[in-house]
Symmetry: C2
Subunit: 288 residues, 2 copies
């Protein structure tokens, strides 16, 4: 019995869930991995690719005897999925997830789970634009941060095991409150997505005849790459983290208006100071 | 003879000038390339690396007998440089440049050059974050757009030769007015730079204790990569193209405020439509 978890249910066998299943097996953390999902074709694909050991489209069968349940489904569906799974999971089974917003979900699960102390909110800061079992790969989490968001009622044993799992697949684990997580992610992830979508929207508005968008070079392309992300996924994230995202956009609008005014008023000394400060901060981020 | 240009003065032997010198020689367009600049160390480096055939720090010596003068110096310095060079250039020598803003410069040169018909404004949409002779390379302009901005007084022979030069080094040449150029570049290049600098400024404002900037993942990094660009260079570009840049920032602020309001008011159907439209436009840009 030397596994960290003997029977692991991976609910959602795409990039996030599939990569954890593969890495957990590889590193000897998981005994058996069971992929759960509602789409037969996806499950079959995951099995065929060896992403998980077994697949199952019935949640009670999948959950019977599990000691870890990992919810890797779209962020809006995590709460109902965990509540449904909880009916069939053994009482001491650890529940965790990979959702990009933590506050609202953690509050709901804390209120509605019969034994909420076994839920450990998690968010691996890793991903690509791809999705589906084909996109899963062994090394996705290596040297990436995973944020855990336990609360005052979370079992320390559950935290310990979930931390050991992420560290076991090569991730650097940090803990913060769900609120701190959501504030941080609003700035480092959610705002850049809004900014990128809005840049493309601005180009479309100012180039109605598609006269010059063809000349868009590296700067525009890099800056807006993430505007090719899935609108439904981002709508859900913006919706679940609305308060913090709105705060971050407001601060960004303030910054833009400040730079615009400096240009309008010809305050290029002031503008240069701001650009230099931003450049230094950007360079520091790359050096971390 | 057989060369498109017999004696080419490259004023500024960094990434832009050096790469044109190298590619023009390689493709048999240039007879002799003469690097001009004020910093002896840079000139020596360019000579040592074989970027140009000769170097010279005296402008009248460099310009004597030239049939092409290419100004590849920082955008603010192009007008004084061309005016100074014009004293020593033969009267039929073509003058062109690689500056990122065209309107103001073209107006000034048209007014002040003794024979302005030989000036053809140009802007190769190519570059990296690097600078200096070491950063120059043969293929910089291959498959990249170069915008030429002739006016009603520009000599058609000068346009033909400058076009042949850029096409000869692999570039796709388009012509537009200086004003169209500046409007286009404000949106596809200058605005993304403002947006990136402002995103980093926002992160700094919302993360005063540097608590979470370390978690910044691919999305933030890509979106803000160009915020590591040189503040002085961008200050000059924003200054010379102030009107169009301010217009583009205003439109961007409108787009951001619209998305923020949709989130605040819970209009997620409306928001999804906007994200979807932006995503489609972004995907189209990559397919060009």
């Amino acid at each position: 019995m030397g596994f960290l978890f003997e029977r692991v249910v991976i609910a959602g066998v795409g990039l996030i869930g599939g990569s954890l299943a593969m890495a957990g097996k590889k590193h000897g953390l998981f005994g058996k991995t069971v992929g759960f999902g509602r789409t037969r074709r996806t499950l079959d694909k995951a099995l065929e690719l060896g992403v998980v050991d077994e697949v199952c489209d019935d949640i009670s069968t999948a959950c019977a005897g599990a000691d870890l349940f990992f919810a890797a489904s779209p962020v809006e569906s995590i709460v109902p999925l965990c509540l449904k799974a909880a009916h069939s999971l053994p009482p001491d089974c650890v529940i965790t997830d990979g959702g990009s917003v933590k506050g609202k979900m953690t509050a709901e699960l804390t209120e509605k789970l019969v034994n909420p102390s076994r839920f450990v909110g998690g968010h691996p800061i890793a991903g690509t634009e791809k999705s589906g079992p084909e996109s899963a790969f062994l090394t996705l989490y290596e040297n990436r941060y995973t944020i855990l968001t336990p609360t005052s009622i979370t079992s320390s044993e559950a935290i310990r095991k979930v931390r050991a799992m992420w560290e076991g697949v090569g991730s650097k684990v940090v803990e913060m409150t769900p609120q701190e997580h959501d504030r941080a992610l609003a700035v480092i992830s959610h705002l850049p997505h809004v900014a990128a979508y809005a840049l493309v929207e601005t180009l479309v508005a100012l180039d109605p005849d598609k006269a010059f968008r063809g000349f868009a070079a590296g700067g525009f392309r890099d800056t807006t790459r993430i505007a090719a992300s899935h609108p439904e996924m981002w709508r859900d994230i913006f919706s679940m983290n609305a308060g913090e995202v709105v705060n971050a956009i407001r601060e960004y609008e303030k910054s833009l208006a400040g730079m615009r005014k400096a240009i309008e008023e010809g305050d290029f000394a002031g503008l240069t100071k701001r650009l230099e400060k931003a450049r230094q901060a950007r360079i520091e981020i790359d050096q971390r």
